[in-house]
């Protein structure tokens, strides 16, 4: 196999991995704090992709400029979902939450199918075909932006969690729910805030993904399995883990595709996944599970 392809393949893997990381960041926050696996994550991504799509096609707002709109909007959606639906319906039991999010996913997907049909929708943006010539590889502009955005979002989330009072409260709730309640932290509010931030992150991911991709009611599933893998690989609840895990998966998948054929590229992902589970069950950056 030609080695001249290795450098561009790795670069392409990194840019694809940045998108995996972006999708995984929200998931890992929700897991880290609420200890729930959010099966509706892919559906929320799909919903955000539609929001970005319609903002462009109906109002003419560029996907990147839509971030200040969809980010806060999806924060509110996430907050209300957790406070009004998931938190309420689960009666505090984590295994019930799993089913509630699965149910939400089914409802959101089918509503999308009902209202927007199975049509594939894409945006034709002039800059989507522009590339940056790195010498060894042509990096499409949207992919370069995705890469920078993944770093930025991961950094911002880390700052919020590590340097603010809100972050302190979130960490307290994540570590010891009862204790946090005892010192006067509103645990339900923090849970909903985290779900909101997680949902806002996925909306940012949607705005960054759409210029290079498409949206259908099923599109969430294309990314969500890889996002789950990213979260487990990086260490559940770890932002640095999600970032590094996503980038690593992107590169592993790209090289796997190059050497074993595109159909088997995913085998490399899940092979790595199994290895991590066997030898480092807490993930690359994970601490012992709470």
């Amino acid at each position: 196999m030609s080695f001249s392809l290795v450098a561009p393949t790795v670069i392409n893997g990194l840019t694809m991995g940045a998108i995996y990381a972006l999708v995984a960041l929200g998931l890992t926050l929700v897991y880290g704090v609420l200890h729930i696996i959010n099966f509706a994550h892919g559906s929320l991504l799909m919903l955000a992709l539609y929001a970005v799509y319609f903002l462009h096609s109906q109002v003419g707002i560029d996907p990147y400029l839509a971030i200040p709109i969809v980010g806060p909007a999806f924060f509110v959606i996430g907050y209300v979902l957790q406070r009004g639906v998931i938190g309420r319906a689960s009666h505090g039991r984590e295994q019930t939450v799993l089913l509630v999010t699965l149910g939400l996913a089914l409802i959101i997907d089918n509503l999308a199918l009902y209202f927007w049909s199975a049509d594939t929708r894409t945006l034709d943006l002039a800059y989507a075909f522009e590339t940056i010539d790195l010498g060894v590889a042509l990096v499409p502009v949207p992919r370069a932006i995705a890469f920078a955005a993944a770093l930025l979002v991961a950094g911002l989330l880390w700052l919020v969690l590590d340097r603010t009072d809100l972050g302190k409260a979130i960490r307290a709730v994540a570590k010891e729910r009862q204790g946090a309640r005892l010192v006067g932290i509103n645990v339900d509010h923090i849970h909903a805030l985290c779900f909101g931030i997680g949902t806002a992150t996925v909306a940012v991911a949607a705005a960054i993904l759409l210029p290079a991709f498409y949206v259908t009611p099923q599109v969430g599933y294309t990314f969500v399995l890889v996002a789950f893998t990213t979260v487990v690989l990086g260490g559940m609840g770890s932002f640095a883990g999600a970032l590094v895990g996503g980038l690593l998966l992107g590169v592993v998948e790209a090289l796997g595709g190059l050497w074993f054929g595109e159909s088997l590229g995913e085998i490399a992902i899940f092979g790595l996944f199994i290895l991590v589970l066997l030898f480092r069950p807490t993930g690359l950056f994970g601490t012992k599970a709470a």
Partner: protein
């Protein structure tokens, strides 16, 4: 899911809150159902089965739209006249892009009392659904499903109106030879990019067997899964190998991503020549990614654009804001074929309908096929055409008798 209401026998006795709610729901459902018993005219139920969800949902919804348009037209024109103006009634099914679900849907459609099932779309689904229909002697009209195996299993209930894979590939290769010879043989090396399901893998195999016999050299065959998130690696491989011809065989979303990535990575080839290309004969692709679509050629199902019925069909689709694609054409034609067979049979009895279908000489369709003639369930006159995307239009370049443009080959550099 089959979208039909069915009620189980109610249990009397302990009437709890749930029973009352269920009863109320049943009454509502009854109220929502049309009162067929009171209607004067008999209806004939037709099962319209497509992958409406999952990876193939775009093609499935296109197929359904075509089938429903035909039913609407037939009913508006007075229904099935030999049956006293019986109206056609669509019973919709969703195969969820999975063969096993498709087969289960056929059972439900059979229970719902349909006279025939139309659709399936993907070869993998059709192989399962036709077999399920054969078990209950239910006539099945394949809308697309091109795998040769579909009509070679001796199933007397299965009819395919469109051409199968061998026919399409043979035509594609013949036309490719004409194209290449006509231009002074500029193309010699080939790369094939295909989806790894029954359709793409089968097609790639035939091409890999046949093309070397005609003097082409296959540089590499690249399979990929559906859905596929990224085509950059494949584009890089193509760029490195630098083939004269690129032959893609994949479904819509992947085809579009591939074409976009080729343009993005500045991959130059002499021709992109697809066989049953998922997007290459789709106005949606041509409109949305016009630059990436330029000069792409395709050997695919397509209607005869000269027929008056075709012009009316295209207009009806445009009025309904449905994309003009081959799925719509084939499903529209398949329903018309069944309606014609019902006219001749004069009954919706499944066995008699099968006999009428087998003897069909239906020629009032929009496809470039001539009168229908089934041999072992395969319509003999069925043939694909070659198209090329030029500007905003999908032009027919072969067969010559109704070509709307001369082919441009090799294509000028793009991007």
């Amino acid at each position: 899911m089959v979208e039909h209401c069915r009620m189980g026998p109610g249990r009397m006795g302990r009437v709890g809150r749930r029973a009352i709610v269920a009863g109320g729901a049943a009454v509502l459902a009854l109220g929502a159902m049309p009162l067929r018993g009171l209607a004067q005219v008999k209806t004939v139920k037709l099962g319209i089965l497509h992958p409406m969800t999952g990876a193939l949902s775009y093609s499935g919804s296109q197929g359904r739209a075509g089938a429903l348009l035909a039913i609407e037209e037939i009913n508006a024109a007075g229904g099935i006249k030999s049956m006293g103006g019986a109206k056609l009634d669509a019973v919709l099914g969703d195969a969820q892009s999975k063969p096993d679900v498709g087969a289960a849907e056929v059972d439900k459609l059979a229970d719902a009392g349909v006279a025939a099932v139309i659709g399936g779309f993907a070869s993998g689904i059709v192989l399962a659904t036709t077999q399920a229909a054969a078990r209950v002697n239910l006539p099945y009209i394949v809308d697309v499903g091109v795998a040769d195996g579909i009509v070679t299993r001796g199933l007397s209930n299965t009819f395919r109106f469109g051409p199968g894979q061998s026919k399409i590939t043979t035509t594609a290769i013949d036309n490719l030879m004409k194209l290449n010879d006509g231009a002074g043989k500029p193309a010699r090396t080939v790369m094939i990019v295909h989806e790894d399901g029954a359709f793409g893998a089968g097609l790639a195999k035939t091409m890999a067997d046949e093309l070397p016999k005609r003097g082409f050299e296959i540089l590499e065959i690249i399979p990929h899964p559906t859905p596929n998130r990224d085509f950059t690696n494949i584009a890089l491989k193509i760029k490195a190998a630098n083939p004269d011809l690129l032959i893609p065989a994949n479904y819509y979303n992947e085809y579009v991503l591939l074409a976009r990535t080729l343009l993005q990575q500045k991959v130059q080839v002499k021709a992109i020549y697809s066989v049953l290309g998922g997007a290459a004969s789709n106005v949606k692709f041509v409109t949305e990614f016009n630059e990436a679509a330029q000069y792409i050629m395709d050997c695919n199902h397509w209607y005869d654009p000269r027929k008056p019925a075709s012009i009316a069909f295209a207009k009806a689709l445009a009025d309904r804001k449905v994309d003009l694609t081959y799925e719509t054409m084939l499903n529209y034609s398949a329903v018309k074929l069944v309606a014609d067979a019902l006219e001749h049979a004069g009954t919706d009895d499944r066995a008699k309908l099968m006999v009428a279908l087998a003897a069909s000489t239906f020629d009032g369709h929009i496809m470039p096929y001539g009168p229908t003639k089934f041999v072992d369930g395969q319509n003999q006159g069925a043939q694909p055409v070659n198209t090329q995307i030029r500007g905003k239009v999908i032009e027919v370049i072969f067969p010559k008798e109704f070509a709307s443009a001369e082919p441009v080959f090799p294509m000028p550099p793009r991007g």
